[in-house]
Symmetry: C4
């Protein structure tokens, strides 16, 4: 039964746990890394790593998408980012990544340039031409308008992602129920759809019922996020992932075996966080900030996501990652190592393989059974 | 049943929760902001925002009262503040808001000037003349002496407010019971009365029984407060509000339907805190420090409240809000946005409307049913 | 039943609470300060304040003992401190309180000067001559040797105090049981004895059975204490006081009404801490560090206690209180106010009277029934 | 029953406790230090102190091994450290301990020099010639290759230690089960074997069943460790030790009386931590960082362990202990005092004897019964 507390007379609340409040407990047996596999398969697509690169302009560009695929992960291009707003986004990137990083007001202005579905289609076509699997993120608000161009251009995977979405959105007093739209929309597509973010059992279950191949848990909280301050929403990720895993079990039962993938997004900074997210029940992790420090990242040492440029209520800040240009590691070092950095922020998936071995498991799915301990964060 | 722990053999204590220990959990469905209303009605008065500006000289002056009303809130003038002590308070404000802020000793001296009921009546008359609804705060100790002038001058709402009050005050061994006085006093008035602050179920219930239209929960703890250090009193606001909401339910039952409004005051710094206070059961929030940073605020970049100038035992300190004069936002930006500040401290009620939508509720009263989660504060 | 947790398989531990984890909850009614009394009576001695000044050389000298008594408290002279080691301790004080404070090694050297029972007797005689009630502290180890001189010189109250003591000390394999000695020793005295410190129910009960008039709870933890680091001992004071209060109830029952006073010592920095210690069950508080900042204090802006000069294993450090000489308040301001300092560290007992009133109680004994709330420390 | 929480629907986790979340509670009686013994016996070896010096190159060299034995403890030489890689390791030490400490990349390079079993045998022979008991640590991976030379050279105790090991290691899909190897390997030896680290009941029990004389609990977490960040593994030591003590009881029962010693390693910084580890059930502690500050330590003011030089995934950093060369204490002061340092980091075992006395116990085995309290760390 979920742990609840009474915060006041007659008012109950769940107790949620953050990833940094839990840790893994190795037990029984250990395995060498050579008998461990971190591979991940969603729909017809197989990846060596359980990794989705977040649709942040600071991380995924057409060129890093190629490289992330080559290293074993899936990169998601933001269909409403700078590459879809500017024919040559170099100048926009230069402004964002100016010395010290641009202000929120500047970011709002730079992102006020309209999205062009022609430009977006061109980016997708270029990516396809280079032979990479193309995943594009659209916001729920603009999916209806932009998806035709995206689909026609040949995207392989569509990611419909807002900070917090539901399967049942009431846009206005008179509009038809968008939940039905989402379900209908996905049913008519030939490619797999990933939807999110969500934060609890019920929303996860309803999103699974839309026919999505994957559900994103969390809204990508990073060190610059201010969503808790602005909106009062916070997602203790260990609890949110475990709840969504419970929804996956319920949905498996009600469908007689349809498995929806969970992709954990937010409060994941290092290899340990990835491992813990997987053990809580995630099939893969979506990473933004941890990849932005790489030398190849378009963010040039800065990280921001779509919430940072919101025109009326920005809910995160562009942050300086604090790594000098000459010290930025290659993406390969960040993902696969080897590394001479002991922070836990590099060789992320080498670390995951190692801890899977220390816990005695040989696949990500088995690893979800590992033991957890709760302790006060150090 | 309330959560209690045994702190020692035979000694029990409730477990209280602060607003920053809880967070909202969006679930089921979402709504667009256009189908959300934040309006609030107390007695015959309707406001677009569930906002009461605190009776701090740093926030409410005759001119900001006009502006706060225009933006949709209710402003409370401190009937024992500088405007009631000085014919022209400009010099006093200049001393308080001197470079770096005045010392507690200076504050004590400035506030040692006696309150004039004539001056107070004049302020009220001027406000009425400008067409604004006039709310005035008096301390319980001076209500008997000052209220005749306040009422005669035509105040619309009377706020009887001390840091912590009760419905039953024993002033001396021989005095009559003031609880009866408060009840009698309110019964004889033609205008609605708001009383407080209180911190628990029982006091809230007793204050409701005085006939008050609204009860204030909390004593306005702000970043300069030292009440916990000085007196050992601390109000975990989530618990205090939820307990007072339980008292409201009890009182609704015993009166067959009289609804007393709860106004949360203290430890509210941003839009997220406001949302959480409403979900815990508040009908509106009283804001001091969050409004003091506005360009129009009389505090000129500083905030203090009545406890800061106490002549024998000051229990808070005047604080420098740390915003340069040229960076101070307009009150409109603070309350309604838009903003290019991602701290969560601006566009406060735009944020509330947005999170109400993300939780799927269309009115403040419904929003009180939203789900909460407890997690360790980040 | 005490709250226990299982820290590992088959290993249980009590959950203890610190004073800063709890807070007072005003409720029901309030009282004006004029109908509140903070007075305290132990044995035949009555004091206006529930205050014992700690036997630290930084706080109690013959001259401050006079002043503390005049202000309403009881001062305890350290019978093994500098006044008993040096005929003219001025030079020793000058070395201890040199600019920046002396080192632990210097402190060890200064306190290596032997205690003289003649000097000690002289100090007591001088104090008696000035008309003050004389309380002297001796360590358990030296009580046998030094108490004859102390008693002969006419001390009014004897304080037998080590950091942690028990009623049953085994000094060596062959020595007689000192527990009997302590009981026998006290039985033969004509003056009241206060003993301590202790940290739990059982030790408190056994110390009460020695015939002591008062028992000290805690070992005087202050901001320079390192006992937890050095020995692994820590006293969550709220729990320790409440447990000792349970022992007092047991002892009242087994003796048919003998009331032993509890004196809380440690982790008390301000008026709020004092109030909370009383509500947990203390009859009075022993204060060291909070008094050392006074202008009259012999510590001249520094604080240290007997554990800081231990010759082999010092367990605290002399600390600089960080108050410039010209800013040091008078003892009267520290204890009784008024003050223009909002830190909670001045007007300590004015604050206690005020919060007793806010909780509706008129005596310290009644105040022990006030409501408590547990919340995470801010 | 172990304390478990549900972190999400259907997902449980143990609650673990760190040493700094617990404290000792003196009770009943006290003892003088002269009637307390801290001695420890494992197999045929008796030591005055329950101390094992960790196999870190920063702590144990052939010369400090002599001194640690003389002071009453057991020193473990790292059989894969610099002394086994360099004929004259002085230059390697000079590089590691260069001003400011070397980088992780440099450490990786310095430790890339191969281990020589001849050099290792020579070190052991030299130590034996000086009359000291010789303990050598090998990693599980290299035990098979290096142990013949170690045994032939005459080591008295073999320590098989990795960060986290199990009794059942699967190295590759086709390899035979190493668990059998470990059991067989130990059965054939004539000298006692200590194995570890482990973190829970089950692994501890299985390691006991290999025939080891001692089991190490923990992986030596120190202030430079990043294992939690890198791998998501963290060991709340109080819980891990108590669980291993439960395994010891189970194993005593199933073997009819074979007692396996527990050696706690990690998160132990001062005398209080040692005392708490013993009370949780350890028979001795393994100390690295606390000894590295000594004047004699080969680390010259720096500390690192084997995880810091891992070639692909370093999981700790070499740290500067921050003690100037002229301020480094003698090993004797660190272990036995006296000291003029009040940090709790010196006179470690004098402190243990003192707190054993304050809790009323005369031997380490009895001390394991002392009372514990859980409180929030200060």
């Amino acid at each position: 039964m979920p742990e609840t507390v009474e915060i006041g007379l007659g008012r109950e609340a769940r107790r949620g746990y953050h990833l940094d409040e839990i840790a893994l407990v190795p037990t029984r047996r250990t395995r060498g890394s050579s008998v461990v596999s971190t591979s991940w398969q969603i729909d017809a697509h197989t990846f060596e790593l359980p990794l989705v690169a977040a649709p942040s302009d600071a991380v995924v560009s057409p060129s890093t998408a190629l490289e992330i695929e080559a290293l074993g992960g899936l990169a998601v291009l933001n269909g409403e980012g700078l590459w879809a707003r500017y024919e040559d986004p170099a100048e926009a990137f230069a402004q964002v990544c100016q010395d010290g990083g641009c202000s929120t007001a500047q970011l709002q202005r730079i992102y006020s340039q309209p999205v062009s579905d022609e430009l977006l289609a061109q980016r997708i076509a270029d990516l396809r031409a280079s032979g990479v699997r193309v995943a594009v993120r659209l916001s729920p608000q603009h999916t209806a308008a932009l998806s035709p161009a995206v689909l026609k251009a040949g995207a392989d995977i569509l990611v419909i992602q807002g900070t917090i979405i539901s399967a049942e959105h009431v846009a206005s007093a008179h509009a038809a129920d968008e939940a039905l739209n989402l379900k209908t929309f996905i049913a008519e597509l030939d490619i797999p759809v990933i939807v999110g973010g969500c934060t609890n059992y019920q929303t996860a279950l309803h999103l699974m019922r839309t026919g999505a191949a994957g559900v994103i848990v969390g809204y990508g909280a990073y060190s610059g996020s201010t969503t808790h301050a602005a909106l009062g929403i916070e997602v203790p990720m260990a609890t949110a992932i475990a709840d969504a895993a419970a929804a996956r079990r319920s949905y498996l039962d009600e469908t007689g075996g349809r498995y929806v993938h969970l992709i954990a997004y937010g409060d994941i900074a290092n290899g340990g966080d990835i491992a813990k997210a997987l053990v809580c029940g995630a099939d893969a992790v979506m990473l933004g900030e941890p990849l932005a420090a790489a030398a190849e990242a378009p963010g040039q040492g800065y990280y921001w996501d779509a919430t940072a440029s919101h025109p009326r209520l920005p809910r995160s800040e562009l942050i300086d990652l604090g790594v000098a240009a000459e010290d930025r590691p290659q993406l390969r070092e960040v993902l696969l190592g080897p590394t001479a950095d002991a922070s836990g922020e590099r060789n992320l998936f080498g670390a995951v393989a190692r801890v899977m071995g220390k816990c005695g498991y040989s696949s990500v799915k088995e690893f979800q059974k590992a033991e957890l301990i709760v302790s006060s964060a150090r």
